[in-house]
């Protein structure tokens, strides 16, 4: 069972490596959205600090939604997804491998680019640290919730827009506490621990339920 997990994870990373441009499109989308806000809202120091937490997270939500399209679509079109569901392995485990690969390719780059966002928005260094931490906790949840929607909309016309419609409302808890933690870190004397605990709880719940629900959704979509 574990060999299927690793071999699939390795395959997805290898495939992404052969099409490097796709990793960068998501990353640059994120950066472009981030840099649009100061142009639209104004670039005073106080404004930037105030909007930064929300902007980072909304950009992350949009970027992660954008990337969902690719999670299963290619495998669906060339028939490898069909073969995955027929392999004598647990589909949930394989789906989990694909989620991790997807996060490594689309979520992790956002975490790593966060210091640059901090520079753009004049954030203090401890806030940048908090931002990286909450992105690290929150973006996997986005990938895992998104995977369910991506599986449900597999192969549909206008799937991309539909995925956003389904998934963005479900991202709200991550947005609220992810952005809340960054804001709190800029206020003297506020603890960010409760935020981190809540985000970790979301991650745990997503870890338990999402692979299972995504596998069920894939089976429905492949019928």
């Amino acid at each position: 069972m574990m060999s299927a997990f690793w071999v699939l994870l390795k395959r997805d990373l290898l495939l992404a490596l052969r099409r490097r441009s796709e990793i960068f499109t998501v990353l640059f989308f994120f950066l472009i959205v981030i840099s649009l806000f100061p142009l639209g809202v104004g670039s005073e120091d106080a404004t930037l600090k105030k909007i930064a937490p929300g902007v980072v997270w909304i950009a992350a939500l949009l970027a992660s939604t954008l990337a969902l399209d690719r999670l299963f679509a290619n495998d669906y079109l060339d028939g490898t997804l069909e073969q995955l569901t027929l392999a004598p392995q647990s589909l949930s485990v394989m789906v989990f491998a694909k989620m991790i690969a997807h996060w490594l390719l689309t979520g992790l780059p956002l975490v790593l680019i966060a210091p640059l966002v901090g520079l753009f928005y004049h954030l203090p260094s401890n806030t940048i640290g908090v931002m990286m931490l909450v992105l690290l906790l929150g973006t996997p949840v986005l990938s895992m919730i998104g995977a369910i929607a991506a599986a449900l909309t597999l192969g549909l016309r206008g799937g991309g827009v539909l995925v956003s419609l389904l998934v963005l409302p479900l991202y709200i808890p991550v947005l609220v506490y992810g952005a809340g933690a960054i804001s709190a870190s800029m206020v003297e004397g506020l603890s960010i621990q409760p935020y981190l605990l809540l985000l970790s709880a979301f991650m745990l719940l997503a870890l338990i339920f999402s692979p299972w629900a995504t596998a069920a959704a894939l089976k429905i979509s492949l019928e």
Partner: protein, 216 residues
């Protein structure tokens, strides 16, 4: 080992594809599935794989419903559909190795190279699959048959896009599998000459009653 189908019924949309379908398949038997387009051949094959949930009836493997066996049944099963199930960005060898590992076997490179040789892709192992022709891509998919340990092969139009040499090769691979006690179900217009074993035929020709009233 037996595959047994009891009173199977599948409905697609508001159309009844087939109803009350029963048959049994034993070791060393090959079943040819016949029927026009839209008669439900692919749907039948997909429900035999467990990809499509039938509306009524049962599919039993060794007397136990395939729904209950899940992974144990899938270990005995090899399905080849219309899609090749290979990644264009991987090389021929990578594709084959990945598919074999998924099936639960970690094969040696020698064995994989030998399979590629047999299927007519000698020295193509490091080619990206995207650079192959349609027929060659199909051969990559067919190479799975050579390294598979599965007892039951379910092949949907396996001869499509193959040239004459490849058709003969596939015929001999299938005959060989039946010789060794395997079971094969396939849809095709191509005859498969067997050296041993038994050929069964199942026709899904539509009867008038099954036609939707709007199409009458």
């Amino acid at each position: 080992m037996t595959l047994e189908v009891k009173n199977l019924q599948c409905i697609r949309g508001d159309r009844e594809l087939f109803t009350d379908l029963s048959f049994q398949l034993e070791e060393s038997q090959l079943m040819m599935l016949e029927g026009q387009n839209g008669s439900g051949k692919t749907t039948l094959l997909r429900s035999l794989c467990g990809l499509y949930l039938q509306d009524q009836g049962e599919i039993l493997w060794n007397g136990i419903s395939i729904k209950k066996q899940d992974e144990d049944y899938r270990r005995e099963l090899l399905y080849l559909g219309h899609l090749n199930g290979i990644k264009a960005d991987l090389t021929v060898l990578e594709n084959l190795r990945f598919n074999a590992t998924l099936a639960g076997k970690i094969p040696s490179t020698d064995k994989l190279m030998q399979a590629l040789d047999t299927i007519g892709l000698y020295a193509f192992e490091d080619f990206p699959t995207s650079q192959l022709s349609q027929g060659q891509k199909r051969r990559v998919a067919l190479a799975r048959l050579l390294i598979s340990k599965a007892k039951l092969w379910i092949l949907d139009e396996p001869f499509v896009a193959l040239d004459i040499a490849a058709v003969e090769l596939l015929q001999s691979i299938i005959a060989n599998h039946v010789d060794n006690g395997g079971m094969v179900i396939l849809t095709t217009h191509q005859e498969v000459p067997l050296t041993s074993g038994k050929i069964k035929r199942l026709s899904l020709s539509e009867e008038q009653d099954n036609l939707p009233s709007s199409a009458k």
